[in-house]
């Protein structure tokens, strides 16, 4: 099977992860599209025979970080102007609202680790490779993310401010 076909086959998984990562469907699909374009342009850097999925998630991670960074100056604009690449506290009605909201409140780096482990069911080692961080960091972020979510779902107050997206 050629790489183009394998990329196409992995699109549903990229979409699922992106949806959980950024919230709304349109922004998530924009992220997937940017990822696919970049992946295609950088395909010569992918080593055949290695894990294409893990490599794609690395690409998506980098694209996402760049998008968030680029949109950051608009953070001060708040309500009137809708924003790009901002995790909206909504999930197309797919999820228990509390959990979805909880994920939105996690720091981005914890959210990425949690989603790769739970949603993608990657091993810690694959996560470490995908995100370019040590396994120890994977585990500490995972632990913090889970504790925060657990506290939130038990109704304990969460200190982070929830951004209202209209």
């Amino acid at each position: 099977m050629n790489e183009a076909q394998r990329l196409v086959d992995l699109i549903p998984r990229l979409r699922r992860y992106a949806r959980a990562l950024v919230g709304d469907r349109a922004t998530a699909d924009d992220l997937v599209q940017d990822t696919l374009e970049r992946a295609w342009a950088k395909l010569h850097l992918y080593r055949r025979g290695t894990d294409l999925r893990a490599w794609l998630f690395t690409v998506m991670h980098n694209v996402h970080v760049n998008r968030v960074r680029a949109s950051r100056p608009t953070d001060t604009l708040e309500d009137e102007m809708p924003e790009l690449a901002q995790r909206a506290a909504q999930g197309d009605g797919l999820l228990v609202r509390d959990l979805d909201r909880g994920i939105a409140l996690l720091p981005a780096e914890q959210r990425a680790v949690l989603l790769l482990v739970t949603l993608e069911e990657m091993s810690y080692e694959q996560v470490a490779r995908s995100l370019g961080i040590p396994i120890g960091t994977v585990m500490s972020r995972l632990s913090r993310a889970r504790e925060k979510l657990r506290a939130l779902m038990q109704g304990q107050p969460v200190t982070a401010k929830l951004k209202v997206v209209k």
Partner: protein, 261 residues
């Protein structure tokens, strides 16, 4: 078997246990610990529940039909890369003389396509990304000299330009500048809203295809661009920090004024 001590079981063990990442021997040690420590057991159970809810909550996304635009990205990215390489080859060959003519004659459709669809939004987005973050020098000529700005840019582009009024959509003119384009000068107008977001209008008068196009949208990197071509004049309205929908309002307002029906 004696029960393991608290210090023996690390936080990492609990996480790995929840994810089934522990080797069998260690697994049973943690299990033994959890059997006699309900609080920890409950915690691990909560982790598992979170994972399950996440998986079931997002399961449906896997079965949604993949939007055509994403499928196309993989195919189109391939052809676009080929078109880009061909485009550069043409440029190089054209500069190189005779050989260029032969190559050019072989590939006219590629030039047309990249010109009409690819070149304008890309260049407009680059200009937007270059100048819109400028604090001290966003423009060469300010809006206080609007009449001079417009007549100067009109003269350089060789066509009568107008700086549309965008107050109705919350943007006022900051000013403009002259830019080098692909084949000649380009006019660049900058607008700003009261919150400081900027929108730029890129105008060129050298669109080779000489063919009017419909109102179109492109995303170049982090910049959203709405553009259209009116015979030889190409217009592009760009923004990197307002929503695509809001930018559409702004671009529409500009379009209505620049291309009155």
């Amino acid at each position: 078997m004696s029960e393991p001590r608290t210090s023996d079981i690390s936080e990492a063990d609990f996480q790995a246990y929840a994810d089934g990442e522990l080797p069998e021997a260690r697994r049973s040690e943690v299990a033994a610990w959890l059997a006699s420590h309900p609080e920890d057991a409950e915690r691990i159970e909560a982790y598992r529940r979170i994972a399950e809810e996440l998986r079931s909550g997002y399961q449906a996304v896997l079965h949604e039909p993949v939007p055509e635009r994403l499928r196309r990205t993989v195919r189109r990215a391939g052809t676009r890369r080929a078109a880009m390489i061909a485009g550069w080859a043409i440029l190089g060959a054209a500069l190189g003389g005779i050989g260029g003519w032969q190559f050019h004659a072989m590939q006219p459709s590629v030039v047309m396509t990249s010109e009409a669809a690819g070149g304008l939004p890309r260049r407009a987005a680059v200009a937007h990304a270059t100048y819109s973050p400028e604090v001290r020098h966003p423009v060469e000529v300010g809006a206080d000299q609007e009449a001079h700005l417009v007549s100067w840019l009109s003269k350089r582009l060789g066509t009568q330009l107008r700086a549309p009024k965008l107050e109705s959509v919350g943007y006022s003119l900051v000013g403009g500048r002259l830019l080098p384009g692909e084949n000649g000068p380009v006019a660049h107008f900058m607008y700003q809203c009261s919150r400081g977001t900027r929108v730029t209008l890129y105008v060129r008068n050298d669109v080779a295809s000489n063919r009017s196009t419909a109102f179109r949208y492109a995303r170049e990197g982090n910049v959203d661009v709405y553009y259209w071509v009116d015979s030889k004049v190409g217009y592009a309205v760009s923004s990197g920090d307002i929503s695509k929908d809001y930018l559409l309002n702004v671009a529409n307002a500009a379009y209505q004024q620049l291309n009155p029906p």
